[in-house]
Symmetry: C2
Subunit: 341 residues, 2 copies
């Protein structure tokens, strides 16, 4: 209802020149006033700031980004948002970045859009860093990551032999820990439900798991693929029920599958958890703590993982990529009722 304070049409932004005129200084003075630790007198800075707030001015990120090649944006390449683990990651990133004045640009592959095409696009926007999550990078992709002009971090993924930074939880140790836990609790016939074929997370968790079982003299566990989805977990449960030797414990590479397994065992198979079968997941999503499930799981410390990711992204102060480093944050087994008794 109220017209804008200044005389200009509401269509045009107030520019640095307007502020400069109002404050009686040059444009560069305005620019310096908004640049942290730039060479400017305290007095002029305050005069500029005063004029700026009066006019409602704030620097145009696009024009600024055109020069500095820093647009104040971090690209997040994320292909699956349905698994509740990733919204939690997204939110953690969003909050952490928001408090630093940075913004998230979300890149999700469209219908027939390959993931590789997204990275150049993101770089074109002058993002200050790229976080790639939940994707199996192709060879082409890793090459693109290595030659990117800004830091790139794989979140919750690793690529062996590639010079790319990666942050994740120690999946192998997690799988091992779960195997040890089951063995110590006297479980004899554990089974495994894998995620998407080729996903490094599933792979490492399985590796640690089988290693732990083997060390205890147990055979390699029977194995089904659940594609990291609830429905996949349901199907896996049904298939595992058909085995001659029914498993007495099931470790699913991911919580959402574990919940599917648990539900399948109970509702379709008519089994009781934990009395008949134990179920263990990985991630510790919110639903794992719901009374209906009370799922024992390996908690991924999202906050620390995000913090480490940002630390890597920000470790180069001139914006250039940094020597690749891999950070494995330790997780923790959360025991709940799906393994009690």
């Amino acid at each position: 209802m109220t017209p804008p304070k200044n005389g200009k049409s509401k269509m045009e932004r107030t520019t640095a020149a307007d502020v400069a005129r109002a404050a009686g200084v040059s444009i560069s003075a305005v620019s310096r006033a908004f640049t942290p630790n730039a060479s400017i007198a305290k007095q002029t800075k305050s005069r500029v700031m005063q004029a700026a707030t009066a006019l409602g001015y704030q620097p145009n990120p696009l024009a600024r980004g055109l020069i500095t090649r820093r647009s104040g944006m971090i690209a997040l390449l994320m292909s699956e948002v349905t698994n509740p683990f990733y919204p939690a990651v997204l939110e953690t990133f969003a909050r952490a970045l928001s408090s630093r004045g940075k913004r998230i640009m979300l890149f999700t592959p469209g219908e027939d859009e390959p993931l590789e095409a997204l990275l150049p696009q993101a770089l074109g926007y002058g993002v200050e860093g790229v976080v790639i999550t939940s994707a199996r990078p192709t060879a082409e992709m890793t090459a693109a990551c290595e030659s990117a002009p800004v830091p790139v971090v794989l979140f919750n993924r690793t690529v062996e032999g590639a010079a790319i930074s990666a942050v994740g939880c120690d999946n192998e140790a997690g799988g091992r820990k779960i195997a040890d836990f089951l063995v110590e609790s006297g479980r004899k016939r554990p089974a495994f439900v894998a995620g998407l074929a080729g996903a490094s997370t599933s792979l490492y968790r399985e590796r640690g798991f089988t290693a732990g079982l083997t060390a205890a003299g147990l055979p390699t566990p029977p194995r089904h693929v659940g594609d990291f989805t609830f429905e996949g977990g349901l199907r896996a449960a049904e298939e595992l029920l058909d085995l001659k030797e029914q498993p007495d414990a099931i470790f699913a590479a991911n919580d959402i599958m574990a919940l599917g397994v648990l539900d399948g065992l109970r509702r379709v198979g008519g089994l009781r958890v934990p009395e008949d079968v134990w179920v263990v997941g990985f991630d510790d999503i919110a639903a794992a703590a719901w009374p209906s499930f009370s799922l024992t799981t390996f908690r991924q410390p999202i906050k620390r993982m995000v913090a480490e990711t940002l630390r890597i992204l920000e470790s180069s102060d001139d914006g250039a990529p940094v020597p690749p480093s891999t950070v494995l944050v330790p997780g923790r087994l959360i025991e709940r009722n799906s393994t009690a008794g």
Copy 2:
């Protein structure tokens, strides 16, 4: 491993000038080649395009946005990402926009950052449109929305008396539909679990619900606040169990609360659903269909809601805001086992 094809350092982008030189044309020809229906000969366009792909050129969105004020980005203001309904919305938006070559900029309020501060920031980035979801706009906010230079759409929210476009599901009709369903099924003592105080969605759903009950001669239902969270639903269930007259049906203003209610009734109260109490939710999130819950709920047609939102955003071809329109998409009651029998 392989060095970049062109001789330039990998640090510098290939610019329009490079392409122009390679194609033997002027810079403007390159620009026109990338501008839809610009005045350019077919032949030169193809020559430009050929050179462009050879050099791996694509227009710099920042520089382009600086002039056109169209950066190819849509701002999404979203405060709570934990309720699974919103990730689903986010993903639908991401996919729809991705296939149109647009990108999402996610704005989430930081620790102590007010939501109002986010809108000017978003506009500063030259976004082509703003979608605000899951927020109760303040008076100040609505004023800012009304005078924004680009279309702004409230998603799943409405503000009465404000000149802002809004897209949502017909919450009142949904509440009414649920009331009718419960009444027709012979329920006598329905209760209601509200969301956050002041949220328009919860308000309208309650209004339709109580209207339906009143029309059937039933009293205004007992009411508890669940804050739109699972834990809130748990608490609401406990409180409703303490009532003198235990309800025989509970309608929660959103699925995640309904699941909390359901779990609370079963695990804490020792009741059976649906034998002892019916439970109905609103949204139809993925977990509602899980066998453990099998929650009857009112499905919000996310895809259509998103499509309508984008239609409004794109309805102005010169980028200016459009006369506000409110679109209410009809939803549908999905009957599952939480109300069977």
